[in-house]
Amino acid sequence: MPTVPATAVADPVPGAGAPHLPRQPDLVQLLTPEGQRVEDPVYSIDPTPDELRGLYRDLVLVRRWDTEATALQRQGELGLWASLLGQEAAQVGAGHALRPDDMAFPTYREHGVAWVRGVDPLHVMSLFRGVDNGGWDPVETGFNLYTIVIPAQTLHATGYAMGVQRDGAETAVLAFFGDGATSQGEINEAMIWAASFQAPVVFFCQNNQYAISAPIERQSRVPLYQRAAGFGFPGVRVDGNDVLAVLAVTRAALAAAREGQGPTFIEAFTYRMGAHTTSDDPTRYRLADELEEWKLRDPIARLKVYLAHEGLGDADFFAGVEAEGDELAARIRSGTTSMEPPPAVSMFDAVYAEQTPPLAAQRAEFEAYQASFEGSSS
């Protein structure tokens, strides 16, 4: 394992190969990988013990959900699963920074944010089971449906934020995307728009070092958060495996947005511990060493150490959270395996708010055709 001097991380292309991230002006960290609380000159946070335990609980539960989902996919109960393993802190931290009125625009991997927003995990599972495209109500939950076309949702987030401005509301919008997404034209347009109109939107990038097999170096030679300055708004890099730092940074950015100070770009520096999705084979493009090093920066372990060390969580507490996880997993498993798709004819029903006569006719044709098989089970 090569030892890299601390300054090397400020290098144009940081990432794998380094041991745990040293603190540096360029990276906001409030809890080290060893579970030590540190201060940042700009971002501070003072969570109550309950809040800290709540964060820990969420981290554990979303990881448990994720593990169960991966297992269910292996067993043929899901068509696909996009694991968040390793990114729990980035998601739970960002999710907790949101106020109820705020609106989040996820990609396909933000199960941790979904969880914090109160979305029923089964409404996410239904998507990956192929039953629907997500079963939750975006407006009610303040959490848009998953967007698979990269990074279409960043423009939606910006437009939504322009609506917020017109409403004069104290609401902020949080747009999620990955490191790979930053190369698409649309997201750059979203940032240009947000800057031009000073829209209350925060761009939250989970730099998990890979876009499927493409390492971050392919997308950018400089740290991603620096992109924002070129568009005229602030960018900040935060340790994405440090839930406290993510919470503090995101909370500050959302507050600034609400106050009319315009957009912020947050780069949550993290790592995709698993495969891109269950269809992927990461051994083809990355080394096991890298994974081992990132394991040392695990987002849950460090909070557990901190809680234990500070006496904020005892064995009972930790066991209780585990038990909750088992329950959640069981509920997800039974809910998923018993999930049936709606009748196929429903595919005709929500194409438009106002059904068209030709489509109604096609629907009737479909029904008649389906009916023609009834009874004829040859």
Binding site: V139, T154, H156, G159, M162
Partner: protein, 326 residues
Amino acid sequence: MTTETLTIGKALNLGLRRAMEDDAKVVLMGEDIGRLGGVFRITDGLQKDFGEARVVDTPLAEAGIVGTAVGLAMRGYRPVCEIQFDGFVFPAFNQLVTQVAKMHARSQGRVPMPVVIRIPFGGGIGAVEHHSESPEAYFAHTPGLKVVAVSNPVDAYWGIQQAIAAPDPVVFLEPKRRYWEKAEVDLDATPEPLFGSRVVRGGDDVTVLAYGPMVKTALQAADAAAEEGRSLEVVDLRTLSPLDLDPVIASVRRTGRCVVVHEAQTTLGLGAEIAARVTEQCFHSLEAPVLRVGGWDVPYPPARMEEEYLPDLDRVLDAVDRAMAF
């Protein structure tokens, strides 16, 4: 009854104004639509009267215009996007096809998408490349979008208001070379439904279908044919998705012959779909196959050749002759 003589351009302007007065959630967005009033002046004066929050001069990027419209719609607004010219809609194609068109279905109806995309379309104005395209077939092939094309000031005035009021995304095609054509518009009338076609001239020998700028051409052809004793029924399709073929089917069952006219390239243009459907529904009445008069299957040519690219009266009559000769 208040009637005014309006050009198509002015009728659109008035229609937009009325829609904005009727609903404070209507927001116009586009390049140069504010201070300048749009390159065709369709939004002239609206920013002055409704302010910069409701008539938004955007940065220069069509995906941005349409993509932010999606977000505004999610927030309860009714965005009306102007694409400056037909040939510049393609940077927004991803947003239109994968997002605008699919959001309602994706969300099982929870997220409505009342977005209007206004596009001045078609040729005949002597313009440089990309300013004379007819991209309607791309949109009509995309479930989730609705597509209309207006041909006259009355439909322009009412149609834009109806499109804005509609709960679904509407690609609203404006016949740019006819922007300056005039007609009387009754501002108090009860408008015809947006998603319906209309027989605009009765006739017995051949049914001629057209939309947008070609309606006038079809009517001119009918005049010329009449002089030779031939009677053409002309249908203004008005709505391209959904198609409203009931009046067409009724007409073709009577005439036995059908010609479809459009500027778009013929292959996989609207004429293809109409030919397929009309043939299926009028099989036993047809005396001739449905014939298509469309743009040639070439990129829209330089301005000094566009007359030979575009369907005109003569090409319509030629097709009518061929249909009669079958």
